[in-house]
Amino acid sequence: MKLAWWKLLAIPMMLYVILAGTLIPLKPGIYTYSPTRITAYEDEAIKIQGYNTHFEAGETKVWVKLVNDRMVPAHRVNVISETDLVAHFKFTKDFVREDPAFADATLIVDTPTDGYSIAPNLRLKASDVPNRFGVFMDTYPLTRLTQVDDFRLPFRQILHETIRNTFFHVAIWMAMFLLLLVSCYHSIQYLRKGDLVADRKSASLTSVGLFFGIAGLLTGSMWAKYTWGTFWTNDIKLNMSAIAMLIYFAYWLLRNSISDIDSRARTSSVYNLFAFASLMILVMVIPRFSDSLHPGNGGNPAFAGEDLDNTLRAVFYPAIIAYTLFGFWMAQLHNRYLDLLYKYND
C-alpha cells in the first residue's frame, strides 16, 4: 500500500510534535518566592525557589526591579541548593517615598548558566523606620542581565509546564479553522457548479472540523482547570466557542434531517457558509470587545511578539500543519465512505 506524500509527511510531523512538545525542557524560572509582600526595611530576606535552575554560590545575583525601571541588588545571596536560595536586601524607604502604598516590583535572578529569570508581583511598602545607613540605595539601570539563548520553552508564571498545551489545544483550534475554511471552499464550489462531489467533501471536512472543535473545547476545559481553577469559566471566548460548536452540531442535524439529495446539498452548503461566518464573528470578533482570559482579548497580550518565542514557534507551526494534515486524512476516509454510500444508493 502506498500512501500519499502528505500523509507520509503527517506521520513524522505528528511524531515530532508529540516528542518535541513533551520533551523540550522549560527555561529556568522562579517558581515561588516568599514573602511576596514586604515592608521596606533595613534587612529583608526573600526565599526563592527556582524551577530548572542552577543556582551557584558566588555567581548568582538577585535584584528587585522597581517601578521606575531601576534595580536594587541583593547585598548577600545564600545559595542553599541548585533550586533554592535566600536573598538578603537592604531596602530603605527612599525609593518608594513618592508612593506610600504598596508599590509593584519585580524579582530578578541572574545566573551565568541559566540567564536571567523574573517573577512579577513583589509588593513593597515603605516603612517608617529611619534609614540607619543614612544613604540612598544604590540602584542600577536595567542593562546588566545575562541573556542565554537556547532551544527551550519559555517559563511563564502560572502556566509553567502547561505552556506545552499550546501545541495541543491552540493548534487543534487552528487546524479546525483551516479544515472548516476548506470545507467552505467546497461548499462554494458546490453552489457554483452543482457538483455533488464537492458537497460530500465539504460535509466530510465539516464533520472532522466538528470533532476537532469538540477536542478543542474538552482540552481547553482541562487546561482551564489547572490555570484558571475551574473546568468551565464564564470566559466569553469559551462560551462563544461552545455556541459555535452548537451551530456546527445543528449543521450535522440539518444534514441528517433532509432526505432529498439535492436540497440537502444546497441547504447544508448554505448553512455551512453561514455557520463559518458566525464562527468567525463569535470566536474572532466578539471576544475582542469584552474581557476575556484568553490571550489577545480584552487587553490581554496576543499570541504574538514576546508571547510566542522562537522555540514555541518551532513546535507550534508544525503542530498546526500536522493536525491539519491528519484532519484531511480523516476527512478523506470519511469522504470515501460517503462516495461509496452515494454510489450504492444510486
Binding site: 508529540i18 516528542l19 513533551t22 520533551l23 525542557p25 517558581y31 524551577y51 530548572n52 533550586t83 509553567h160 509546564e161 502547561t162 506545552r164 498545551n165 495541543f168 489545544h169 487543534i172 472532522v208 470533532f211 476537532f212 469538540i214 477536542a215 474538552l218 482540552t219 482541562m222 487546561w223 482547570k225 489547572y226 491528519f326 480523516m330 476516509l333 470519511h334 465512505y337 461509496l340 454510500l341 450504492y344
Partner: protein, 69 residues
C-alpha cells in the same frame, strides 16, 4: 486486530513520553501536577481521534452489510 494493536501501542507511547524526561527534579515537577494537565490534554485528543475512527468504522460496517444483502 491490527488497528487495536496500533491503538494500544500509541496509547502506551503517549503515556510514557513525559516519563522519559527523567531528572532529579522530577518529583518536584510532578508535585505541581501541571505536567499531568498536558498529559490529560493529549489523552483527550487521542480519545477524540479514536471516537472518530470507531464511528467511521461502524458506518462502513453498516454499508458493507447493506451491500452484501
Amino acid at each position: 486486530m491490527k488497528a487495536h494493536l496500533l491503538a494500544t501501542i500509541s496509547l502506551l507511547l503517549l503515556t510514557t513520553f513525559p516519563l522519559l524526561a527523567q531528572s532529579p527534579m522530577d518529583d518536584f515537577f510532578r508535585s505541581t501536577g501541571k505536567i499531568y494537565t498536558v498529559l490529560g490534554v493529549m489523552v483527550i485528543l487521542f480519545v477524540v481521534f479514536i471516537v472518530f475512527l470507531v464511528r467511521l468504522e461502524g458506518k462502513i460496517k453498516r454499508l458493507e452489510k447493506q451491500i452484501k444483502k
